[in-house]
Structure formats: structure tokens, C-alpha cells
């Protein structure tokens, strides 16, 4: 309950003054081959806030999230029309190296995916990748503390990250992602493979992390969006053209999306009339 109250309070605070954005995505079209997966979606990730993406299955919310750090480039037939502005630069510009983009926009995945190496090495991975010159031990400890995992693993840093429980693995992945101090953290349904207790721990963690990192989270769980997101973007599927194309229906402060949505589609969805 306190989490929800906090989220609501901060979303109200957000309306005061002009918001600053870490990412401003103006997606015209996303194709997989000839298949139009997403159209006409303008989503922004506000600095120091949590932006939630909700919507029914197949609405393209994960696709949109993964296009914010060019993870979709792994799929050869992926093509995006539009612009994703990250701190003033279009990350889809020809001159931009997607590898460099991903070093500033970190990602936490649906399935916990620690590397098959020690807990310590998992967290140090990104630092070594970036040739970090400072005090590695200190940085690893700080990241694990921020991920709320330090007390549980401080005596077994040499053990494999795969030996941890699912919830611990996911927090390890968060520690790994924030060790390099990314500007934005993208989370693709980070709790869907976890039990309710581990989910709660991760949600509390997100609220702590948002002061340092701008967070965008995809969730299929509306209650989760209500609990953590400051801003919520609702996506739906358009089957009118014959295909299944996702698009952004409405975006706004979380409280407004859930209590006073402007669009009929949003109202029906948050009431649970379809899913």
C-alpha cells in the first residue's frame, strides 16, 4: 500500500515544472520483415521516474522497449521507422554504434540470466568491458548493495551466480546492469518469472533505483504498474488492417490512466474487460 501511495505522490509531483526526458521515442513503424508489429507510438522516459508499459499480449510493448536500446538489432529482419532520441541524439542515426548505446541504456530481462561465472564476476562484467580503472571491489559491493543483494551474498561472492534462487538471480542481473551506472534501465517484465515475495522485493528496489536511473518497465501486471510506475503507457493491438499491429493508445500519469482514462479502450482494459 505504501508503495502505491508513494508512486501516486511522485507522479503528482511530476506534473509540477517541465519534465526532463532521458529518452523520447517517436516510433512511426516497426517491421519484422513485412509484418508491421508496431505503429504510431510516442513514448518518453522521464528522468528519475519509472515509466510503465502495459497492454494485452502481442501489443508490441516489449518490442517498443527493446527498440529503446537497439536490442532488436539482434533480429536481422527488424526495421524501425522513426526516431529514438536519447539525450539529444537519435540512436538510430547511421553514425551511432548500437554497442555504445547499450552501454548507456542497460537492460534487465524477463528470465533472470546471470552469466555462468561467480557472483563477483557477474557484477564486474560490465566494468571490465568498459575498462573500469577504479576500485573494482568497492564498485561491486556498491552495486550489490543497491540491488539489495549484498547481505545475502557477501560471504559467497566466489560462488556461481547460477546457484542463487530466481529472485536473487534477478537482483544479481539488476546489480550487473547498474554497476556501469547506465543512464536508463530498461526492464522487460522483470518479475514475471518470480514468486510474489521476490516480486515485492524487486518492486521496492525499483522505487529506490529511480532516483539514480530513469527506468522503463514492461509489465503484464496492472497492479504492478499501479504500484511502481509514475507514468503509464497503454498499448493495444489493432487487428483492423488484417495483421496484428500494436500501437500506443494513451500515456499519462499512472493515477490518471487507471482512475480517469481518456480513451474508451484504456477504460475497458483497466477495468479488466479484456486482456
Amino acid at each position: 500500500m505504501s508503495i502505491a501511495a508513494e508512486a501516486a505522490a511522485s507522479s503528482q509531483a511530476a506534473t509540477v515544472g517541465a519534465p526532463e526526458y532521458a529518452i523520447r521515442a517517436d516510433i512511426k513503424k516497426i517491421f519484422y520483415g513485412n509484418f508491421l508489429a508496431v505503429r504510431d507510438s510516442v513514448v518518453n522516459v522521464e528522468k528519475g521516474k519509472i515509466t510503465g508499459f502495459i497492454g494485452p499480449s502481442g501489443c508490441g510493448k516489449s518490442t517498443v522497449l527493446r527498440s529503446l536500446n537497439r536490442m532488436n538489432d539482434l533480429i536481422p529482419i527488424f526495421r524501425l521507422e522513426g526516431k529514438v532520441d536519447f539525450l539529444g541524439q537519435d540512436i538510430y542515426a547511421k553514425s551511432i554504434d548500437p554497442v555504445a548505446v547499450r552501454r548507456h541504456i542497460g537492460m534487465v530481462f524477463q528470465q533472470p540470466n546471470p552469466f555462468s561465472m561467480s557472483i563477483y564476476e557477474n557484477v564486474a562484467f560490465g566494468l571490465r568491458l568498459n575498462r573500469f580503472k577504479g576500485n573494482m571491489d568497492e564498485r561491486v559491493e556498491k552495486s550489490l548493495r543497491r540491488a539489495g543483494l549484498w547481505d545475502e551474498v557477501k560471504d559467497k561472492l566466489k560462488q556461481s551466480g547460477l546457484a542463487l534462487s530466481g529472485g536473487q538471480q534477478q537482483r544479481l542481473c539488476i546489480a550487473r546492469a547498474i554497476a556501469t551506472e547506465p543512464t536508463v534501465l530498461l526492464m522487460d517484465e522483470p518479475c514475471s518469472a518470480l514468486d510474489p515475495i521476490a516480486t515485492r522485493v524487486i518492486e521496492e528496489l525499483m522505487l529506490e533505483l529511480k532516483s539514480r536511473y530513469s527506468v522503463a518497465i514492461v509489465t503484464h501486471n496492472m497492479q504492478q504498474a499501479m504500484r511502481v510506475a509514475d507514468t503509464t503507457a497503454f498499448f493495444a493491438v489493432d487487428i483492423s488492417q488484417g495483421g496484428r499491429t500494436g500501437f500506443l493508445v494513451e500515456v499519462g500519469p499512472t493515477k490518471q490512466i487507471f482512475e480517469n482514462p481518456q480513451q474508451t479502450l484504456t477504460r475497458e482494459y483497466v477495468r479488466g474487460e479484456f486482456s
Partner: protein, 297 residues
Amino acid sequence: MALLDPASSAAAVAAPNMNRSFFERRALTNFLLTVGLWSLAALAAIPLFSVLYMLISRGGARISLETLTSLPPAGFMPGGGIGNAIVGTLVMVAIGALISVPFGVLGGVFLGIVAPNSKIAATARFVGQVLTGFPSILAGVFVYGFLVLAMGTYSALAGGLALAVGMFPMILLTTEQAVRMVPQRMKDAAVGMGCTPFQATWKVTLPTALPGVMTGVMLSIAGAAGNSAPLLFTALFSNFWLESLREPTASLAILIYNFSGMPFPNQIELAWAASLVLVLIVLVFNIFSRMFGSPKL
């Protein structure tokens, strides 16, 4: 009725007969099949253990420091050993590994990660599979034409290369399997952390696949150590210590082949000793492959 009144129906059901009965049909079948399987397993183990027993009893008698460290004797001479053949086998297997491991592992990475669905990968995979069942003597003939004729002499280099031809397909295909087994989500995580494709492969996929890769490498080494056919046309044999990689070289497998057919009891004893040493080398690499292959958490 039972649905309406669960309490009374539970009481009404008589306790079924659940006593053990050996002569019931399914118990009997189970017993006979179990006995059958155990005897077949024992039967299958008989050749293996009888060979081991013969090697240990006949070869073990001749194992001594002298046998392991001296040169083969001439006909009718007592004593002598198989030292140069042990060195020759280890050196040629090492040369074979030095050639086949880099090519095999890199090729496996290509097949498994870089371009798994390309035409060249499909061709290479098919050729690799054909090569696994390729008669190993043809590897020797190939290297004979390719290197021995060009160099004008049999040599350890040619022997090592011929062994490499035999080792390569196994390393290639096991590496491909091992890198494919690495979960996609780990590869995704590496890319998400900002790895270039090379870094993702080198820092995440290959280390994760290492146990599987090492299993393939060790098994191929074990196979090469016991392989004699490729060496017949390439390394030939030598009664002297290995001094240069460019001269004919002794090996355990060829020593066994040569000496076991000789009319001298001393040589035949040495052939037995060499067989035992060879089996032990093969066994050691097989054990290594087991050790590397065991998943560690």
C-alpha cells in the same frame, strides 16, 4: 451414490490386496527382465575387462623405469624399452592438437554462432560429419601426398598433421553443439551489457561452453593417441630418440604393430608393455574429458 455421500462410500470400499506376490505375472516379468539386463550388461563388460586383464598381467610385468625410458632393442638383444615411442606419440598428438584445436573451435563457433544457417555452414557441417566416419588410413594417404612427398621424408610433422585431420571433425562438431547449448538468454544478456559480437562470444558464450568443448578436445586426443593407421604413411617409425620434427618418428601404435609380429620374445613383451601404456594414456584423456564435462554450479 458415492458422489452424494463420500463418508459412507470410503468406509464401504474393501481394502484391496496389495501383498507382494512373486509368482504374479507382472512381478515375474519384471524379475526376468531385470536379470536379463544385468547379464547382458555383464556380458558386454567381459571383452573390455578381459583385454584390460591381459594387458595388465602381460604388459604390467614388463613395465619398469628402463622400459619407459630406453630405446627399443635390436633383435636377439635383451632389455631395451619404448621411451622414444612414448615421446613420439605425445609429440605427434600435441602437434595434432595444436593444428586441430584452433581450427576446430573456430569452425565450431562459426557453425554455431556466426552463420549457423548459411550455405557454407551447411556444407562444412556435412563434410565434418562425413569426415568423422572417414577411414583414418586415408588421412595418412592424404598427408603422404600433401606433405611427405613434398618434404621428401617421413616426419613427426606429417604424423601430427595426419592425426589432426582425424581430430578436427570431432572438435568441430562438439564445439558447435556446445556453443549452441549456451542458453540464448545468456547471449542476450551479453549483448544487453554492450558486448560486441566478438566480446559476447569470447567472454560469455565460449567460457560457458568450455566444458563441452574440452570434452570434445580430450576425446579427440584420446582417439588420436591410439590411432595407428594415419601414422603408417606419415611418421613411419624410428629406433632412435626424436631429435627433429622433420625426421621419421616412433609411436606407440606403430611400435605395437611392428613388434607384435616379430619372432623375438623380448620385442613381443615390449609390445604388450606399449599396449598397456597406450591404454593408460587414452584412459587418462578420457578421464580428463569426464572431469571437464561435469557441469559445475
